[in-house]
């Protein structure tokens, strides 16, 4: 007995050591996991357990200057489902037939935005009560599919002011990446254009959240925590719904009138009504237009493609700020004022117009729009008759004078750079000068030289000069108010929940041309003459308000002439500046000016009857 015990002694020691090593290594490993890196495992456990979804806040409403709704919300039923149902093809097919959305559209929506795993995807917004009831009754057949309350934008005016209001949609990858909306998450509905975009932060409100505890299958066990969303604020615009309606109608009528006059290619155009003192945009129209409600619940690809096709004339573009046109003869008011202010012209400066102008030599001769010529004219008569010959001479004077004074004055009136309106996408337009021409033609040395003809062309608003309808309106507002360029804006106030204004827009001066009273009077006299005895008289016959305006007929290579009219009124105490432009609409005096009269009739509460007149000027 003792013998085997002695034999075994060392072996027990080995067995004991093996056991100790086994238990010791387990202990060491557990120390490392539980004590040293316990917190990171605890974080992983929390990550397993907790899921968070955000709760959308109700979007603020957009009201007109009188508090009437332009955009509101409507509660709707939305059919939602988690991404996981896409694996069940029979379910997806069945659902597709019930809610009337094609299978591939559903698949696409389920596949979108993977970031929030639990967040249900909206498959169809605004389903009828019947469909909602059907899905609720047959919920066993549609696991995961839910009918939820949601809200969609409602546009009481249909497409009214669509370009100002803009549309909403799911945030894009680029918008997310830009960091402009730091709180935004994939799947959020944000403003895409217009006021919806520029005041998105105000309208958006603050999202709420809901934290769930889930099990290993992702099933919700309990709600841990909830933060209620804070609704977005309402905003009041400077837009007057009634004036806006008339402005859009006037623009559409102008296009129809152009067709009547044989300019059948006329499709696009813009009209702007500004308050000359505050820069408030009273109305802003762009044609062709669109219905913002087509974007609700995600626009169909075919519809989107159609809106962006070349043949569509790009209805999503707000031509009032996103398109730049040659101002043509409407620019003569700016040239005249520039001449008066710089002393290159006086009210009595007279030139002879023989019809064909040879001021730069015979080989560079230019026709006046009236080939018969206007004879000898003063400044006022030249503006009234829109005489090109007269302004060719003015252009030549500016060319000969030192320092590009015409360009400088145009810029002081806000042309050639963005005015900074609170709408996205505004373009700068162009006031050409020697430096610009050199840079623009850097690859064509033979075209880099600024020539006398460039200034001469610019003096009749042609050449390389480009202005947006908004810039032109703003310039006319400045010509009416003494030379102060006020930043145009569409926001009147942000409203607190009780309806009082929490933020009010203030008048912001962009620049001041310091026009002298005498010069203002001279120009006013000339512009009133346009609508009484000049190229615009046909459109203003019998109009009780004195209007200071100027017609324009722009030549654009390869297209029919563009019809323009710019004005401010009442001439003696200007309140509004109005610009109407019809692309390929023909003559400013017979197509654009009647539209301006139609708008003014509304502004001043006067009766308007359709005007058919003729105009051959340019």
């Amino acid at each position: 007995m003792t013998t085997f015990r002695q034999l075994l002694k060392g072996r027990f020691a080995v067995l004991g050591v093996v056991v100790l090593v086994a238990l010791g290594s387990l202990t060491a490993r557990l120390w490392g996991m539980q004590v040293l890196s316990g917190s990171s495992f605890a974080a992983a456990a929390e990550g397993n357990r907790i899921r968070e979804v955000s709760l959308p806040a109700a979007r603020g409403r957009i009201l007109d200057i009188k508090g009437r709704p332009l955009v509101t919300n409507r509660p709707v039923m939305a059919v939602t489902a988690p991404a996981t149902i896409s694996q069940d093809t029979t379910l997806v097919a069945h659902l597709a037939s019930v809610i009337g959305v094609p299978v591939d559209e559903i698949t696409k929506r389920l596949a979108s935005y993977k970031a929030e795993r639990l967040a249900p995807r909206v498959l169809k917004l605004d389903v009828p009560m019947q469909t909602a009831a059907y899905l609720a009754e047959h919920s066993a057949d549609f696991p995961g599919v839910a009918v939820e309350e949601s809200a969609v934008r409602v546009y009481p005016g249909g497409s009214l002011a669509a370009h100002v209001l803009g549309y909403t949609g799911e945030i894009s990858e680029t918008q997310l990446a830009s960091g402009a909306l730091p709180d935004a998450k994939i799947g959020d509905i944000v403003g895409k254009s217009g006021v919806e975009a520029s005041y998105d932060k105000v309208l958006q409100g603050e999202k709420g959240f809901r934290r769930f505890e889930v099990d290993n299958q992702g099933r919700v066990r309990s709600v841990l925590d909830e933060g209620a969303p804070r609704a977005g604020k309402d905003i009041k615009l400077t837009i007057d719904r009634d004036v806006q309606k008339v402005t859009e109608k006037a623009l559409a009528d102008a296009i129809a009138e152009a067709h009547r006059q044989g300019f059948t290619k006329a499709k696009g155009g813009a009209a702007v009504v500004l308050d000359v003192k505050t820069g408030a945009v009273v109305a802003m129209a762009s044609a062709p237009t669109y219905d913002p409600s087509i974007f609700l619940g995600g626009i169909k690809q075919a519809t989107w493609d159609a809106l962006n096709a070349k043949s569509s004339e790009y209805p999503l573009n707000n031509r009032a700020i996103q398109a730049a046109y040659p101002p043509a003869s409407s620019f003569k008011a700016v040239v005249a004022m520039a001449g008066l202010q710089t002393g290159l012209l006086t009210p009595s400066t007279a030139f002879n117009c023989p019809g064909f102008w040879t001021g730069l030599g015979k080989q560079w001769g230019k026709w006046c729009w009236d080939h018969a010529g206007h004879g000898t004219l003063s400044l006022v008569a030249a503006i009234e008759q829109s005489c090109d010959g007269y302004f060719y001479n003015v252009g030549k004077r500016f060319y000969q004078a030192p320092g590009e004074k015409l360009q400088a004055f145009a810029r002081t009136l806000g042309l050639g750079s963005k005015l900074g309106i609170d709408l996205a996408g505004e373009v700068a337009g162009r006031v050409p000068d020697a430096a610009w021409k050199k840079a623009y033609n850097q690859n064509y040395p033979e075209y880099q030289q600024w020539l006398p003809g460039d200034t001469v062309n610019m003096a009749i608003g042609q050449g390389d000069l480009l202005v947006t309808p908004l810039q032109l309106a703003s310039a006319y507002a400045a010509l009416g108010n003494g030379g102060i360029v006020v930043r145009p804006h569409v926001l009147d106030a942000v409203l607190a929940p009780d309806g009082t204004a929490s933020v009010e827009s203030s008048v912001s001066v962009v620049s001041n041309a310091h026009l002298t009273a005498a010069n203002l009077a001279t120009l006013r006299h000339a512009l009133v003459g346009v609508t009484t005895v000049g190229t615009g008289r046909g459109s203003f016959v019998g109009f009780p308000i004195s209007v200071a305006g100027k017609t324009g007929t722009a030549q654009v290579a390869g297209k029919d002439d563009y019809a323009l009219f710019a004005c401010y009124a009442p001439a003696s105490a200007p309140r509004y500046a109005i610009v109407v432009i019809v692309e390929q609409g023909g003559h400013g005096g017979s197509v654009a000016a009647p539209a301006a009269r139609q708008i003014m009739a509304k502004l001043f509460g006067k009766k308007y009857t359709t005007i058919h007149t003729t105009d051959v000027s340019r």
């Binding site: 007995m1 013998t3 085997f4 015990r5 034999l7 075994l8 002694k9 072996r11 027990f12 080995v14 067995l15 004991g16 093996v18 056991v19 100790l20 086994a22 238990l23 290594s25 387990l26 202990t27 490993r29 557990l30 120390w31 996991m33 539980q34 004590v35 890196s37 316990g38 917190s39 990171s40 495992f41 605890a42 992983a44 456990a45 929390e46 397993n48 357990r49 505890e213 889930v214 099990d215 290993n216 299958q217 066990r221």
Partner: protein
Amino acid sequence: MRAPLSRILRDRVHLGVVLSTVALVVFGGVMVWAATMTMTGHAALVQRQYLGVGIGLIALAVMWVLDYQVLKAWTGPLMVALSLLIISPRIPGLGASVSGATSWLQIGSIRLFQPSEPAKLLFIVVMAAIIAEYGGKLDKTPDILKVVGLASVPLVLILLQPDLGTGMVFVAIASGMLLVGGMKARWFGVFAVAGIVLVLAVFALNSVLVTSMNKPDGVLIKSYQVDRLLVFVDPTRDPKGAGYNLQQSKIAIGSGGLTGAGLGMGSQSRLNFIPERHTDFIFSVLGEQLGFAGAVMLLALYLALMASALSVSASSRDLFGALVAAGLISMWAFQILENMGMTIGMMPITGIPLPFMSYGSSFMVTNLAGVGMLLSIWSRRYGTTTT
């Protein structure tokens, strides 16, 4: 003449064995209760487990009272019984296989027990009887080959079931007993190399057969077993599939920290993130709910049990008893290392439960019967009878 009670107790009761066992059984009972808390049929599962403890205590008493030396004389019949026990689930009318992994002995529709559990004890007894023949000197090649050859019979049978987990337990038991039985270190080296070569050969043959017979589920080794091994090598592999269990188990244990989330608490346990949390992964529940402190407490209890078993082994009146005790130590040590090791990524995942902790009556009864055998050896350390 009857001995006084205090003398009987001193002679027959090994305080270390009894106290550590009682503590482990209580601890295990609490853990099964806590682990099944949010499961459907919680009460029934707990009841069943406690019933298993009851049967196990009866088995313990029987083994205690029974003179273990009687078993030694029955080596031949016991070997036959062991083999029959191992293959019993394959006998038509007797066997049942649950989800292809656990084999049950059942008659009609009454499920009796998992034969692989008592087979472990029987294997220990048979091996002890065989090895004891050589009086603690196991150094002649023919002797060693004979012993290992005999040990291979039940091992091969269990591997053919296929029950890889129990097979590994058999190997661990045999190794510990051969160590105590006197096999030299170089022979362990020889068998280790032979074992590795054999395993590699099986893997190679399996992959050939998988492709030639076009059975992607595996022929000799199941594909899920291969997956588990690959996940062990690279835990980040397939986090939603084979790596999921390991990942969730590690999160549970790690998040327990020093003192744990508290009994019955812990999101990983409560919210079903831990798979098989009352059986193979019960330690993950313990780790999450009781933390490092609870884990160390468990390890200390295991250490106390095995140290006590070692003292029983050392004081056995014969080599057979010493070998049986060594076999039990090896069995427990390996199962503890493998089970706890797999929950923390130290060992590959196999279906080996944690002694006294995991849910399962057959397992509990077997472990308690093993404790009974220890006490039987202890009781008879001075002679066959003391009464």
